[in-house]
């Protein structure tokens, strides 16, 4: 199977990271107003997750860390070269790993699922795929 060009991978990663910034920003804004993200299909999963102590790390909503992560991933997608390739892979690996952990918390500890968190986890999964392909296919090669 032919690997997509690095330009294609970077372009898709750019859109996905930008979309991720939007999702994480929405969660952070909804939380900062004392509320919670609204579940599109109804239910109270988002409220339960937002009210749980897991929604904050060091007193900061984890969505804020999400925004930061997606911004860095966006930068890695926009930049060329091995540093950007490795940074993109490393950042998406951290993001994906943390998404796995958060999904575990939702399912087994908080016992509620927030669609916005699921959306972010899906985006992180796509980003790890794109960045892994980019690293495996193009690292060490001319930009």
């Amino acid at each position: 199977m032919k690997l997509p060009t690095e330009g294609t991978l970077r372009m898709i990663a750019t859109f996905v990271a930008a979309f991720g910034i939007g999702v994480a920003t929405y969660i952070a804004i909804a939380d900062s107003g004392g509320g919670s993200p609204v579940c599109l299909a109804g239910g109270s999963g988002c409220q339960t997750v937002a009210d749980s102590t897991y929604s904050h790390l060091l007193g900061v909503n984890i969505a804020v860390f999400g925004i930061l992560g997606y911004v860095l991933l966006l930068a890695a997608a926009l930049l060329r070269g091995d540093t950007a390739r490795m940074a993109g892979f490393g950042l998406s690996l951290v993001g994906f790993g943390y998404s796995v952990y958060l999904t575990y918390l939702e399912l087994f500890k908080i016992e509620a699922v927030c669609q916005w968190c699921v959306a972010s986890a899906v985006l992180m999964t796509v980003l790890i795929g794109l960045n892994a392909l980019r690293m495996l296919g193009y690292v060490g090669k001319p930009a």
Partner: protein, 235 residues
Amino acid sequence: MNASEQRRKVLLQIGSAAVFLAIVAVAVLIVVSSNETSGGDTNLEDVGLVKRELQGIPQSALVLGQSSAKVTLYEFGDPQCPVCKGFSEEIIPTVVESKVRGGEAKIEFKNFIIISQESVPAGAAAIAAGEQGRGWNFIDLFYRNQGPEASGYVTDEFLTEIARGAGVPDIATWNKARESAAILGEVKRTTEEAQQLELTGTPSFAVEGPGTQGIESLGTPGSAEALEEAIEGAA
């Protein structure tokens, strides 16, 4: 191998090491998290125990058991009452297993505030949890984490922790409900109801069924067997 290939090899090795470290880090996080006792994000006692004891039994408001059950056992209790705590831990679970789970009877908890006014917000919080199907989880968990009478432990933080441990799904709605005039009025109403039944202490029990003439007071039976016999007599 030229320099470019050598560099690519090193970078891929770094990438592989990062993958390995990430897998280990996530595994450690999950293991540490799953080893936490009680409710995961609380310091409460017996969160899992209460959940297991009530699992699979229908709840509506503060009624535990199938709505079609012919006999209703009423428990008039004060959330701060230490004797109620003893009943909740040692006597009620037996009755729940023998009479409620199978559908023979249902139990309704009614607030009978006698210890201090600190019990009012606790009772209201239980009713609000009942509106979300976790009333009995709330009451049981409250009793299992009860503090000394009128010592000021019934704070908003404590009640919220109990609600979270009880699995109340929508904490914001629960917060609004527990402070509503309707629910605070309900606490007052059931306390007056207990007084009309001439109950004098907590917990007091009453039973109602095809074999009784209205609600019959049982006082404070000292054993699960006595409550089971009362249920059988009312059937």
